[in-house]
Symmetry: C2
Subunit: 361 residues, 2 copies
């Protein structure tokens, strides 16, 4: 993470302000990205207990050293097993109502804790950090920007390899390798390289199919910096683009551009979705745009807000969201165009830098 | 997966036999590797409902095509959201007691389901598939063998790159790239390359540290085939090995060898751990062997059985487990030696083929 201790203190302070409203005097966090957001700890397992006067980071033996280094402002406590760790952290009897993340705790672990604790002590909470995490601070935006830059540089290298005869999975492998060589910690998600008829599947996995002259190739990829994920999609054409493809590309690009023009603080997420969707519907392709227009990105590659017809969220300055309309013609091909943008008071800034004009390679 | 439909039918039949004992007339599966084991479906989200007369695979719109292809023996049903999907699948009122995986269902989802279902309909179950999954069939062993072979080939290439001045993270990146180029679907886990003092941390992450002459280098890595994970660790030395290092290496190697000699059907997992541990304790390094001796591997890189002092499991023919003793001297260096072995009636077969004799490179 590399975050300043003050950043974590501020995040904890904002949560503590909400304790009375939530009706709790402590919160147990089990979701690792939420724990990372609150403490800086990047291990794969642990529990964070936020008390009015301190934060306690509970980890197993593997992570004691790392937790101490990454989360110096938390008390780090080693547990032998999670149940006994939580029990002793809650032990003093001072905590009367401990909130917990209901979406991140399993029924099994919950039952084991409940058996040992006073009735009613555990209070299920939903989306405690959703609002906080969706609005990024300057450091988070800087990491997202770096991640997007790495992915851009890698893609420019990989475009050079995209020739007829090369397998989709080779392109994906080279993309991942180059992002990492340029400093990415991992890939945001399994890189998508979908060519020809595979491009009609929004979540195709790269396989042994060889690129062919005239193919549409959808590439969806992201790099990771300090735990923050970038997300971008380009659709290229190999050699030559048919008239129908050009027509559809223009429709998707227009939906993408108009949605981005509408992004600003105060806009309703469902309106951004509607703007993109109406462009596509008007041209008769509405049934072929089978997913939402975008989503927040950060420590998770998919996080709040959701830009879809069902969303009731409002954009705020500092949110980072994707705009990614697509048209998928089953058995033929597909087009998706995606940028990651930073919401501002009066508009937005595009963080992903590859040109989205139709590119024939 | 590429599994035969008969394999899945047999697995389901063995589960159905246990319905009376479990006291259920249906089971809801939420853990994706368990769903993959029972159906062949490899998507990242879904629910599998096993009924006495059929299996129903519930997925969202992204996965309908893939589920139909990968799990032809299941009824594939698309849901808009998981709750409504499960509700309509259970809808007819014929299911009176539906077991569910208590370790894989969140408190939040459980509450939402419980509110809509008859009281007592949902029955928490623990480890329903643990026993079945721990004993591998011929096809599973073949995939584990292929995965181990890929990792071996990649390692032999990467050894050539291990020179003073090369960064740990470069070695890790090259290892991952070569495993994938040789056909690995992904890496079993984040590859460990721990050099010099970092080798004293069992779960070190590869960083910018440059290899130095005289370094111990612990490499822990695995490849994936058909969803099955290999797992192997080598400890090399660069240039020259000191007397103390040679001594410790021999102790770990001896612990590893004796444990492997003891592996056979009927042996207690805790006895295998004890055999390795005693070798190390006798030489005075007991406190520096800070983890268990091994674990099962398969669709998960860590699965049943556990080979530790606390385990009450017995080895069975067809189990595939790791044997991985280590000694970690804080601030100095460490040695871990790990092979993945197939348990047989009268012994075991080592699936990971790199020689574990001390190698100076």
């Amino acid at each position: 993470m590399g975050g300043e201790a003050t950043v974590y203190r501020q995040r904890l302070a904002r949560l503590l302000e909400r304790f009375p409203h939530l009706g709790v005097d402590a919160i147990l966090f089990f979701e690792m990205n939420n724990i990372c957001y609150l403490t800086g700890f990047t291990g794969s397992d642990g529990v964070f207990l936020l008390l009015p006067d301190k934060g306690v980071l509970l980890v197993d033996g593997r992570y004691v050293t790392q937790a101490g280094e990454e989360a110096p402002q938390s008390d780090v406590v080693q547990y032998r097993d999670k149940i006994s760790g939580v029990m002793s952290a809650l032990g003093g009897g001072e905590v009367k109502r401990a909130g917990f993340e209901a979406a991140a705790l399993s029924v099994e672990l919950h039952e084991k804790l409940r058996e040992k604790l006073a009735p009613g002590l555990l209070v299920p909470l939903t989306g405690v950090l959703t609002g906080l995490r969706s609005v990024k601070d300057g450091q988070e935006v800087a990491l997202l920007r770096e991640a997007a830059d790495i992915a851009t540089k890698a893609l420019l290298q990989v475009i050079e390899l995209m020739h007829p005869g090369v397998e989709e999975r080779t392109i994906a492998m080279e993309m991942d390798y180059r992002m990492r060589a340029l400093g990415s910690e991992e890939t945001s998600f399994p890189t998508i390289v979908a060519s020809g008829p595979n491009a009609a599947l929004p979540h195709a996995r790269p396989g042994p199919r060889k690129l062919e002259d005239g193919d549409a190739v959808v590439m969806d990829y992201g790099a990771v910096q300090g735990g923050y994920h970038s997300d971008e999609t380009c659709t290229f054409v190999l050699g030559r683009a048919g008239a129908k493809f050009r027509e559809v590309y223009v429709v998707v690009k227009d939906a993408h551009d108009r949605a981005i023009e509408a992004v600003r603080a105060g806009a309703a997420c469902r309106d951004i979705d509607r703007i993109a969707r109406q462009v596509i519907e008007k041209k008769g392709y509405g049934t072929y745009f089978s997913h939402g227009t975008g989503h927040g990105v950060g420590l998770d590659v998919h996080e709040a807000p959701r830009l879809s017809a069902l969303s009731d969220q409002i954009l705020e300055a500092g949110m980072v969201v994707t705009i990614e309309p697509g048209i998928y013609l089953p058995g033929q091909w597909g087009v998706r165009i995606e940028d990651m943008v930073l919401v501002k008071e009066d508009g937005c800034e595009i963080l992903t830098k590859i040109s989205k004009e139709l590119k024939i390679i």
